[in-house]
């Protein structure tokens, strides 16, 4: 029952990794509407006020005809500007709705699939992996690869290249020692950042101040900057602010802490990470790639004690020589066989034992099983301590053209007489 149940898809819980797929466009829509709102408010109020003022002035004969025309021109310019901005937001809105629709349709496809064995599931799950890989690439800044894969697989609507590319641009500017782009972003998202209690803006302002200290000798600029941008934070971050204040007394080559680390250029990397964290949090995205979550859960679920066992898996080192070695008859032949390391014939290599994941899985725990699960039935023990299914041994003996009454170890290639076999009982 357990196995049968395991291949059934639990629809309520199968799309955990796919939540950001719908949540992100929803979040971006919110941001988009908010920006639109901001601009509407700003321009509308300005135009309304000006219109009222113009009317009043006109009634009171304070405004000439030319003044009125000028004012109207001013209003027109404002409204045209608003239209331009709003059109961009409307376009973005359409794009996000289009994207959301495509994504829901993609997730809905799974509703028709009820077991893991269904061929449709494989196709769907492959696409999910592609999505996870693109997400991984984007988060590591491998943007070209992400773009290439998404295009190749025709799934641009299912991945968030624009969002991440914009993010990685800001990140890169920080890594290159510029705070302007990140500060602009902070300004755009002031409210949310405050709600999140993010210290990003403060840290960026500090960095600006540190750079002013580094470059200018009469530190007037630095002092002015601190007065304007850093002192307001002195209640929130008292320690940091006092360190910052002390920095005035030290040159950038000081060996004294904490000032030496304030001058350290490694801070840029730290700021870049801080920005990335804040950005992901703001959009409700997980802090690390979804692929990591899938892998840490999947590797464990697949891993067995045998996967890193010294008995079954001495095989992988043998792999490289394998191609070039010319297998001869007899002893050599058997050596070759051993190096393939598959416990059972005709089965494929376990994914955790495979080169791709073996080292990665080394540090995760193996799956918990409360019941024995044997791939073969009717087990027999060979004199060398290895256990196989009887049918498996017979088949291999047959294929290896052994004499009647002889069997051959599937892994080591040793030959034994059938009367040396012992039955094994697994309870």
């Amino acid at each position: 029952m357990a196995d049968h149940g395991a291949s059934k898809i639990n629809h309520d819980n199968h799309l955990l990794l796919d939540q950001p797929l719908l949540r992100l466009p929803h979040e971006l829509l919110r941001k988009n509407i908010r920006s639109a709102h901001y601009h509407i408010e700003w321009d509308t109020n300005a135009v309304k006020d000006l219109l009222k003022e113009t009317a009043t002035n006109s009634i009171n004969q304070k405004a000439s005809k030319q003044d009125v025309v000028n004012n109207l021109d001013q209003m027109l310019a404002r409204m045209r500007g608003l239209k331009r901005k709003l059109s961009t937001y409307a376009e973005e809105e359409n794009r996000l709705y289009r994207q959301s629709t495509a994504r829901v349709a993609h997730l809905r496809e799974l509703s028709d699939v009820h077991t893991v064995e269904d061929v449709k599931y494989e196709a769907w799950s492959r696409q999910r992996l592609d999505r996870l890989i693109v997400d991984y690439m984007l988060r590591h800044g491998y943007n070209e690869s992400a773009d290439a894969l998404a295009k190749e697989r025709n799934m641009l609507e299912l991945v968030d290249i624009d969002t991440f590319v914009a993010m990685s641009k800001i990140r890169q500017s920080l890594e290159n020692g510029s705070v302007q782009e990140a500060l602009a972003w902070c300004n755009e998202n002031k409210k949310e950042l405050r709600k999140m209690q993010s210290n990003l803006e403060f840290m960026l302002r500090c960095q600006q101040y540190i750079e002013l200290n580094r470059s200018s000798c009469p530190k007037l600029d630095a002092i002015a900057h601190a007065k304007k941008y850093i002192i307001p934070f002195s209640n929130t971050y008292p320690t940091e602010v006092s360190h910052i204040a002390g920095l005035l007394a030290y040159r950038s080559d000081t060996p004294h802490e904490p000032y030496a680390s304030l001058y350290n250029s490694a801070r840029w990397k730290m700021l870049a990470d801080l920005f990335t964290d804040a950005h992901l949090k703001l959009l409700g995205l997980p802090q690390f790639p979804l692929l990591h979550i899938a892998l840490s859960s999947g590797l464990s679920a697949l891993k067995t004690p045998a996967c890193h066992s010294s008995q079954q898996n001495q095989s992988h080192q043998g792999q490289k020589s394998h191609k070039s070695a010319t297998p001869g008859p007899g002893q050599d032949d058997e050596q070759e066989t051993r190096s393939h390391g598959t416990a059972s014939l005709q089965t494929s290599v376990c994914p955790i034992c495979s080169t791709e994941l073996n080292a990665l899985a080394r540090n995760v725990p193996y799956a918990h099983h409360s019941k024995s699960h044997l791939l073969e039935h009717d087990l027999v023990l060979l004199p060398n301590g290895r256990v196989y299914g009887k049918a498996q041994l017979d088949e291999y003996a047959d294929k290896s053209r052994l004499d009647e009454g002889e069997v051959k170890d599937l892994v080591t290639g040793e030959r034994f007489r059938e009367d040396e076999l012992k039955k094994v009982f697994i309870t």
């Binding site: 949540r23 219109l51 709705y97 802490e257 004690p305 066989t337 494929s348």
Partner: protein, 435 residues
């Protein structure tokens, strides 16, 4: 089942409705209206005599006000649609926070990069793979040069120092893998596999047969019949003649071609597959009406090509020591299947502050479908523990199997009694087995 709609079907329907709601475009329309009103008024003021100005501008007030309200309504509409979407999401796709307090994979970027690169190659995405490998190298180089520039800092941000430290140690030990990977023969191997599979898809068996012949010794050692299976299919394929296989209608095709192919190729299989060869030969006698003959199964090849393609993939990868299916695909799929259990567990242990990756064995079961089990699992029937290298399975003389630690506990002196049958045994007669 069928009549009941799944949550995502409901969600899709909701989205369809939301898609019809007015959006920001409505606001843009009304901004346009304002522009019209303003420019009309401007023209009028400019052309009319000075005395009309006040009337025009006063008259303008109300329509503009209404239009501004409409702009606001457009915005409200868009916000309402967005809110509706949020509600639909919460109802049909409720947010379940992912376990993100601990990233067990963070220190293994190079290993994951390698797994991805190999996955892409496997899938035949050669150009994406090479873009990816290049980007990874460039990033690595950049990070390395950055690391060289500055010595590690020690100071109030000690945490940062630690992270960076780890990153350095992992890159230096692991990045070798990926830089050597670029030139590795693996890429060529996958390219070869991919080409052969492409040919198989196009119903051309020859490249696969050539490969199988070149590797016949290893394949035979694995007990694989691949070469023969491919050759037999080639025979059948030729036998079907030009109308089916679309090959040129000459002496190398059709029944004559098949016979000729058999003569020149089947002798090498005689020792192992005499029976099948005889059957193929006999089938020639039924040539005019194979479908009604006892041999019809040999000639029903609807799935034969995809079957040989998958056995080819399996053998090809096995000879390289690789899993036939992409391990990354399997792991990600298994991950999605096991994630609900993991989340349930992490939620419960969150309070205790223990991390689930710290012990050797997971603390909860993550059932996977049978097709995802690759090794036999032995759970000691007494201790209920899985056997490991340290605690291996032991077979006692009666044939029952127990974990070594269980056996040691059962022992009284040097003797023990089997918990499953009446027989007794000596500890020295128990032997370790490899399942």
């Amino acid at each position: 089942m069928a009549s009941e709609k799944s949550k995502l079907e409901v969600l899709e329907e909701e989205y369809r409705k939301i898609n019809k709601l007015p959006r920001l475009a409505k606001a843009v329309e009304n901004v346009d209206k304002i522009i019209e009103l303003l420019s009309a008024a401007r023209e009028q003021v400019a052309s009319d005599p000075e005395s009309h100005t006040t009337i025009t501008i006063t008259k303008l007030q109300n329509p503009v006000k209404t239009a501004f309200e409409a702009v606001n309504d457009g915005l409200k509409g868009a916000a309402a649609a967005h809110k509706k979407m949020g509600k639909a999401l919460d109802k049909s796709f409720p947010l379940k926070p992912l376990p993100t307090d601990h990233d067990a994979m963070a220190d293994h970027v190079s290993l994951i990069n390698r797994a991805i690169a190999m996955h892409l190659l496997r899938e035949g995405q050669f150009s994406v793979a090479s873009t990816f490998i290049n980007e990874v190298q460039v990033t690595l180089k950049r990070e390395e040069s950055a690391d060289l520039d500055e010595p590690m800092d020690e100071g109030d941000d000690g945490d940062e120092g630690m992270d960076a430290d780890e990153a350095v140690s992992t890159t230096s030990s692991e990045n070798y893998d990926l830089s050597s990977f670029h030139s590795q023969e693996l890429q060529e191997n996958f390219a070869e596999m991919y080409n052969i599979l492409q040919e198989l898809k196009a119903r051309n068996l020859m490249p696969a047969i050539t490969w199988a012949r070149n590797n016949s010794v290893e394949l035979e050692a694995r007990g694989s019949n691949l070469e023969f299976e491919l050759s037999r299919l080639q025979f059948v394929w030729l036998f079907k003649g030009p109308s089916v296989n679309g090959l040129p209608d000459d002496e190398n095709n059709g029944q004559r071609g098949a016979l000729q192919y058999a003569r020149s190729n089947f002798t090498r299989f005689q020792a192992r597959h005499l029976n099948e060869i005889n059957r193929l030969a006999c089938s020639m006698a039924f040539a005019p009406n194979i479908a009604a003959s006892p041999y019809k199964q040999i000639f029903a090849i609807d799935t034969a090509f995809s079957d040989v393609a998958s056995s080819f993939t399996r053998e090809f990868c096995s000879l390289l020591g690789l899993s036939a299916e992409s391990p990354l695909y399997l792991a990600a799929t298994a991950g999605a299947l096991a994630l609900p259990q993991l989340m349930k567990y992490t939620q419960k242990t969150l309070a205790k502050g223990t991390e689930w990756t710290t012990s050797n064995e997971m603390a909860f079961e993550t059932p996977l479908p049978e097709s995802m089990l690759y090794h036999s699992i032995f759970v000691c029937p007494v201790s209920k523990e899985q056997t490991t290298d340290a605690n291996p399975p032991m077979m006692i003389p009666c044939g029952h199997v127990l974990a070594k630690e269980t056996l040691q506990k059962l022992c009284k002196g040097t003797r023990f009694k089997c918990p499953y049958c009446p027989s007794e045994g000596m500890i020295k007669d128990a032997r370790q087995i490899i399942l």
